[in-house]
Assembly symmetry: C2
Homo-oligomer: 587 residues x 2
């Protein structure tokens, strides 16, 4: 086996060189592990990277940068490397910088520095970590060079107090015990904008994640950092305990543990494993094999997908003709400059081609940064000036953001259906100059089911059939019932609803005066699939199964006529549904 | 204005300090620009980064690494910084490393070094670039320190010939004229795996993109490189001409031009612009605000979405019952380890829950790296051992990859429809032990339209209606026709097809013996919406409009019965379509 176990203190030299563990933790907390991933070892220099985050949180970026640089030194980890003039260590990954970093950590809330450091590291691991006291004592007893560094830092005013306590903090911090699995989860926490993927607790302020990863990227692997980024392409930090922690930003964390070290002080097998993983799994962050796409999940136009409501045949036809004036853009994934920028272009093109209503469906958006919403807000303002109306629907978690960029409530809809309905109504009004809603109460002749009836048929129906009235809110048809009646609406609006969870229901259809209600189950004998509820006072003609059956003998021509009208209507709905399926299955 | 225009040669000192341009180029070649983005200036040190790619292509990574390191030196750009012992320059971004890099470029195919360098740079810019001869002469006349470096490199054997010609190449390469827009497109080319986003020509082998970006990330901004990654988080290179080229890997390129330089030799305003852009547009590569998600676009089960064919009612019911045994997973975007890994988990869970047929729909996949397909291949093998069948459909560009990982042709389907059909047939066979296809020719009574007829009705139909035969391939109904007939299939299979482009057609339905054909247009009088083609010898009963109308008088009870059956069938199709829409609209 190549490489040598660290032996600058006797305790480290006792490490078993055969230990070997590899672990990958994903951003959603799934952990893949093989080998000795639950074996404890001391974190050593890997603590430098994490602890840098604590110093930033305690003191702020500018204070910390004024004391400790972030430039690679091109020198070994224990080189003293202080900048001429200021005496600031080159970066927080060399010993001088790491000791200076520990010195920036505040004693706070009755906690000592080391208590706070251990608690901070534990947040990244997602479990309480412990100090290995034997190794700590050994580190402390032999840490003469580090004591020299501490006094130099004191000399230059990089630390504000005598270094003894800071040095003990540093020795203890390096002696914290972790496992390979801990390292992978610490990495996944950094990949996950600072939130531990399993405990879901924030370990580091989101703003400082890039700073910690930044110093890992340029200085994490001692004087092999350049080659590491060149070959492996992952911000990483190694420790002389044999651990390596690597991060694919935004994606995953890797932990490797194998004690034998190479001449730069990095785990020999750890380096090889990371090189292999990066190549085999294509993880090099600088040449991603897949790149973010436009956030558009699906785009279709009005008329293809329509609001869940029944329209009179002539209105349906108008909507199909003028449909392209409404465009629905369904967004998905994470909205960032790169994913939203092509959406802005696409929307501007649609407007230039004459569309007057753009609906952004936000249902499948999982995250959005502020720049993406600023771009959407600018688009909305710009298109409004061109007379184009923008609607947002199903905002979910992005609701706060929509309101914060100044999108007025009237442009935001809870459901796609509501947005489509508003746009369709506006479009139909533009096209016809009047509402498509019929003036009620209607005559029987104006109801589509009866439109081809003879005068005698109408008289017959008027005489034979009962008129029924429902109050607003009343359930006209309960789901599950046997379908022994159907209705023709003379006045009022009804909703077809299916239950969606405990106390909620989802509207699947809306019918207005002139339309037949419940004819499908009525005709095919299946139980009612949904509730039908009166939205306001409703008047309707009731067709009973018995009466309908009696027509076979009494008035077969009327029955034929009614069946033909019902079939025509169901066929029209099937054609619309097929159009919608085509639109939804489009690539 | 802060900063000083470079004045080490008189020609550079003539630059107009007021020039200022900012440009962003996206991976798909859209360019945003503001200010003096078309103003020419000399590329200077930015050429070092690009030219490093040419040296790698000419000599290979190991050769180049043996001559030129990739470690940040922590020193200024003109420091001599050669490694003790080997004399290798620390990295290709300092002058020593850049001259050594130029020395690795081969004279080839009758072209001089500088011709090849200019051609290479031009590939990145997407247009032929020129050398500014005045600046070149000025660089050459004053390049004494660089000549000293050249001779030191010669002394250490880093370059194999006397340095004169190599130095002239270097001076000329630095004097190539570019614009701010060129820089942004060069950056976009690196972001786009080495392919120029507009010319679509490859400028650099994909394998070397991460190497070029690697040295830019760690050494691109002279001795401010660490702070640059810390604050801006984009691999970048600056030049004393006032240009900065920055790259967000996989996403976009940025070019900035402003001649006044800071004390490190970086464009003063360029740095500020990049810091602002990175913060305002959230471009820091180490803390992405959106992260890759599972590649699953949509998942649904058999019975929800079904093959585009008509099944007998009882078969349809069986399929709905056993549907969850078939699972369709629609993938999208770029497949990588990170996006495919959750898919593998999801598929394994579905199999564990009892699904026996998994269909991966690849239609919306835009790219896939080999690791993602290796994981899919492993999944396929593992699940096959558990008796689960995996099918892939609509592979498009990924077809070659599917075959290369050893997926047999029988598991690959051109359309989702074909995959669904195969899985449904296999499932129905498992469930019933026999084919659902009826034995033909059928009696009239076995046809669903006639199933409730009385014996007298059947006799009446047999006597009155004509039997017609079509040969396989014959068009039974041409799209656009007036619908004055409908058919009931006694024997054979027909397809409903709509034309899809010039000489292609898409199957939208398949009907087998026992089913009614063309009843919708027949009933509602609309023109035929699709072609109906006999797939084999077909025998059918022909129902004409005249005969159907005559029933009103002659045999109204039969007409009522037929209308009820047709309505029942159309209603069943509408219910299925609604189920499918629900599945397709699921979040």
């Amino acid at each position: 086996m190549e490489g040598q176990v660290a032996d600058y203190i006797p305790e480290l030299a006792k490490a078993d060189p055969r230990h070997f563990g590899i672990c990958i933790a994903t951003r959603d907390g799934h952990v893949y592990e093989v080998g000795d991933t639950r074996q404890s070892f001391t974190i050593q220099s890997i603590s430098k990277a994490i602890n840098y985050g604590l110093a930033l949180e305690d003191r702020g970026e500018e204070h910390v940068l004024s004391r400790i640089g972030v430039e690679p030194s091109g020198e070994a980890f224990n080189a003293i490397s202080l900048k001429e003039g200021t005496g600031a260590p080159f970066n927080p990954m060399i010993n001088a910088g790491a000791i200076a970093t520990s010195g920036q950590v505040l004693k706070k809330d009755g906690q000592s520095r080391i208590d706070r450091v251990v608690e901070y590291l534990s947040g990244f691991a997602g479990r309480p970590l412990q100090i290995n006291q034997t190794i700590y004592r050994s580190e402390s007893e032999t840490g003469h060079r580090n004591r020299a560094i501490g006094w130099l830092l004191r000399n230059f005013g990089i630390i504000d107090e005598d270094p003894d306590e800071i040095l003990e903090t540093y020795f203890q911090q390096c002696s914290v015990e972790v496992t390979c699995r801990d390292l992978a989860l610490m990495g996944a926490t950094l990949a996950n904008q600072g939130v531990h993927p399993i405990t879901k607790k924030r370990a580091i302020a989101a703003d400082y994640v890039d700073n910690v990863l930044g110093v890992m990227a340029t200085c994490g692997m001692y004087d092999w950092s350049g080659e590491w980024i060149y070959r492996v392409g992952l911000p990483a930090k190694s420790g002389v305990g044999g651990g390596i922690l690597a991060v694919l930003p935004g994606q995953l964390g890797i932990g490797v543990f194998s004690p034998p070290l190479d001449s730069q002080g990095n785990s020999f097998r750890g380096i090889k494993v990371c090189m292999d993983l990066s190549r085999e799994l294509a993880l090099h962050m600088l040449n991603p094999t897949a790149t973010p796409l436009s956030a558009v999940r699906l785009a279709y136009q009005g008329g293809e997908v329509v609001a869940r409501r029944r329209l009179p045949p002539s209105t349906r036809e108008l909507l199909r003709q003028h449909g392209p004036s409404i465009q629905v853009i369904e967004l998905q994934g994470g909205l960032t400059f790169t994913t939203i920028e092509p959406v802005i272009r696409q929307a501007a093109n649609l407007a230039a081609e004459g569309s007057k209503h753009l609906i952004f469906d936000l249902r499948a958006v999982v995250s959005a940064n502020s720049v993406s919403f600023i771009l959407l807000a600018n688009l909305s303002t710009r298109l409004a000036e061109q007379g184009v109306n923008i609607a947002f629907c199903q905002p979910g978690k992005t609701m706060t953001m929509l309101r914060s960029i100044g999108i007025p409530a009237r442009q935001i809809f809870a459901t796609l259906d509501a947005a489509l309905e508003a746009c369709e109504d506006a479009l139909l009004l533009e096209v016809t100059g009047s509402s498509w809603r019929p003036e009620t109460p209607l005559s029987l002749r104006s109801c589509s089911l009866f439109r081809t009836c003879t005068d005698e048929d109408i008289a017959f129906i008027t005489e034979q059939l009962q008129l029924r009235r429902y109050a607003g809110g009343e359930t006209m048809i309960p789901a599950g019932d046997i379908a022994d009646e159907m209705f023709v609406l003379i006045q009022g609006t009804v909703e077809v609803q299916i239950s969606a969870g405990e106390n909620d229901c989802k509207r699947v259809d809306v019918l207005t005066a002139g339309m037949a209600v419940g004819e499908m189950a009525f005709l095919d004998g299946s139980p009612r699939s949904a509730n039908v509820v009166a939205m306001e006072t409703v008047e309707c003609i009731v067709i009973t199964k018995d009466w309908f059956r009696s027509l076979d003998q009494v008035r077969p021509t009327l029955k034929i006529l009614l069946l033909q009208e019902m079939t025509r209507e169901i066929s029209a709905r099937l054609r619309q549904a097929n159009l919608e399926i085509s639109a939804l299955q489009r690539a």
